[in-house]
């Protein structure tokens, strides 16, 4: 039985085959409480899927598997991705699963599905992610929840009354999600403020990175780069966070918002930190044969990936520093150096995050003591970094960022390979809550 082919003729392969990015689609990202206020995670994910279906002619097609996720998730959305698939133009016989790895969710769906394709378990897949900070779940307080659950268990009227008597006025206040790390009580911005100060990253350096992100994104829109990567939604055709006309002077005027009570000088502002954002993204991946037989383009291959986590709880390492460990491990496994990459897509959770990672890779001390390397990895060529803008300009709907990065980088690699008739390579790096990071390599041939 094990060797018999299924209805589509897919067979497990002994030799790994390639998984390639065919294309991507996202809805423009909207600042929270803006254009997508009335749209749920399921609505936005469906919109991103339908745009992808329309672009690649996937109507009624049974895709091997769809994986997506959301970081801020309602309990009713236990099957968010499958529900979005049922509501989309894809075949209702397309299976789906939800994944959650904080801000690395989107990239991890690409990695997991690419691995299934490489193993021959599926031929095609859609990876994605969505998040809404506007339509965030609000839960009842722990006190009310405990009473309601106990009420459910109570059998007699007497027991029910005794249970109800435990309710206190403060129990009626709801719990809204926040960005505080559960084990430290510090927000992600405050954690990054500690790391930013520890690495002596200046306000000016952060503002410059932010300015570059906005300018690069504006230029990418200008030359139509996103025309085949985006579907307008709810009246929005561009990321609403983009400030094409921002300047260093404007950025320098903003007051610090994070790290004001942490002792060191506060350098992180709303201008060099990502805002809360709503949005969704989806990436179509498949085997080379799938792309060829369906007359679909091949943008880039998903080569390899590495996840890392750091011990941040008592400050041994910064909360968002895991990519600084994941990247060197991935480079070592692939036998590569920074000079081997044409593009770097480092997710801009905060400008300070990107600058701390790069400072760590340039630091002899960090590379020797923390990574066990004889010499530092070296500097990243800034002209290859986030060249079409990144999260500081687009905004960051947590789980949707991975799909944006993969589709953007895959298209950049294809363009460069076609223009220069040579293979190209790019690196994606995403930090995540809980002290995690996921990084991946894409190549175009």
């Amino acid at each position: 039985m094990a060797a018999s082919p299924d209805a589509t003729g897919t067979r497990p392969a002994n030799v790994l085959r390639k998984a390639v990015v065919i294309g991507g689609n996202r809805i423009p990202f909207a600042r929270a409480n803006g254009a997508y206020t009335q749209a749920s995670n399921q609505d936005m994910l469906t919109a991103a899927l339908d745009g992808l279906v329309a672009r690649f002619g996937l109507q009624d097609e049974r895709i091997g598997e769809v994986a997506a996720g959301a970081v801020l998730k309602h309990s009713r959305d236990f099957n968010l991705t499958r529900e979005a698939v049922i509501g989309s133009a894809l075949s209702p016989e397309t299976p789906a699963y939800d994944l959650q790895q904080a801000c690395a969710t989107g990239l991890e769906t690409v990695v997991g599905l690419a691995n299934k394709i490489k193993l021959g378990q599926i031929d095609s897949a859609i990876a994605g992610g969505v998040d809404s900070a506007s339509d965030a779940p609000i839960a009842v307080s722990e006190g009310l929840r405990a009473v309601l659950l106990e009420l459910h268990r109570a059998k007699t009227v007497q027991q029910k009354l005794t249970t109800l008597a435990k309710l206190r006025p403060k129990d009626l206040a709801p719990n809204a999600p926040d960005t505080a790390e559960p084990r430290t009580g510090l927000s992600m911005g405050e954690h990054q403020a500690l790391t930013t100060a520890a690495w002596n990253v200046t306000r000016e350096a952060q503002d410059e990175l932010s300015l570059a992100s906005h300018r690069n994104l504006a230029a990418a829109y200008e030359r139509g780069f996103f025309d085949d990567l985006m579907t307008p939604y709810r009246g929005l055709a561009k990321d609403s966070n983009l400030r094409a006309d921002t300047t260093l002077e404007k950025l320098a005027k903003l007051q610090p918002v994070f790290g004001k009570n942490l002792g060191a000088e506060a350098t992180m502002t709303a201008g060099n930190s990502t805002p809360l954002t709503d949005g969704a993204s989806a990436v179509l991946i498949g085997s080379e044969e799938y792309a060829r037989s369906n007359d679909l383009p091949v943008l880039a291959e998903v080569v390899d990936s590495e996840a890392a986590a750091v011990d941040f709880v008592h400050g041994k390492e910064g909360l968002l520093m895991a990519p600084a460990y994941a990247v060197p491990r991935l480079l070592a496994r692939q036998g590569l150096t920074f000079a081997d990459f044409d593009f770097f897509e480092i997710h801009e959770a905060f400008a300070g995050t990107v600058l701390c990672h790069m400072a760590a890779w340039e630091s002899e001390e960090f590379c020797r003591n923390k990574l066990g390397l004889q010499k530092p990895l070296g500097a990243i060529d800034r002209t290859r970094l986030n060249v079409n803008g990144s999260s500081l300009a687009t905004g960051h709907p947590f789980a949707a960022t991975g799909g944006r990065l993969v589709a953007t980088l895959a298209k950049m690699l294809r363009e460069k390979t076609d223009a220069e008739s040579r293979p190209t390579r790019g690196l994606i790096s995403v930090c995540a809550a809980g002290g995690m990071g996921v990084v991946a390599i894409l190549e175009a041939n």
Partner: protein, 298 residues
Amino acid sequence: MSEVILGEMPTLSRLYLTAASTAARHKLGVGQQADQLPAVRHTVDGVHIAPERVSGFQQLMHGTVRDTLPSVFLHSVAFPVVMSVMTRPDFPLPLLGMVHLANRVNHLRPVHFAEPLTVTAWAEGLRGHHAGTQVELHTRIEAGGETVWEGVSDYLAKAVYLPGLDKALRPERTDFIPPQPTARWRLGPEAGREYAGVSGDFNPIHLSAVSAKMLGLKRSIAHGMYLASRVLTSVEATASEPFAWRIDFAAPVFLPATVAVRIHDTERDGSWEASEFTGWGERSHRLHFTGSVNTLAG
């Protein structure tokens, strides 16, 4: 020392009432104030722990509901026995208004919640303090015939000076400069009451602003053992028994409060060896407590 076996775990609320009436009688000049510690140990045998009580404690501390008992939970289990010593008519210091200065504990092995415990408490080390008189309350918890937990709490009776005890010199004040925090605790006005709910220690200074004012405080204050337990919960994933911990209290934490905390772990040969900790007011920059947790293994 003589031994007194108590038939059952004393009730804390009753002991607080005893303490209040003793205080009132002393104010009226009734009753003889002793000037030495009673040479007696109080013991309660066969102490059983309800699992719900442990769960409630673990949840309040943001900890994991485990089958083994948190170190500070064991302190709260033993506390009524300690109180029974401190409310004896021949105990020389007034219980109400006493200041908790420090705690030192050796937690010698994991204790399962279903193990029956024997709790013994006594007082030692009556001595002068620059602000009054200081005393050590000792606690020993045994399970299966061995000591599993032993602790010493230092208390200060402010402005009480007993004959024959020299007043200690006031130690030099050192300025506190806050280090980089690793955590922030937001403690609401209910933090004291919530700890009373899981620890059984309904000391009025922790319950509400009104009850605290009756005892001369401007607002209610967080229980020192709550603060200690929050820290210990944060290291429970790495610190395994046997370990020793201590906490020294500085300025009280008036509720509500935002406490900044730094916990710094040190390793030896790749294994956890110790965690040093400091807590201070995030905005006031006043030092609230310092302490450490150290492995007692090999």
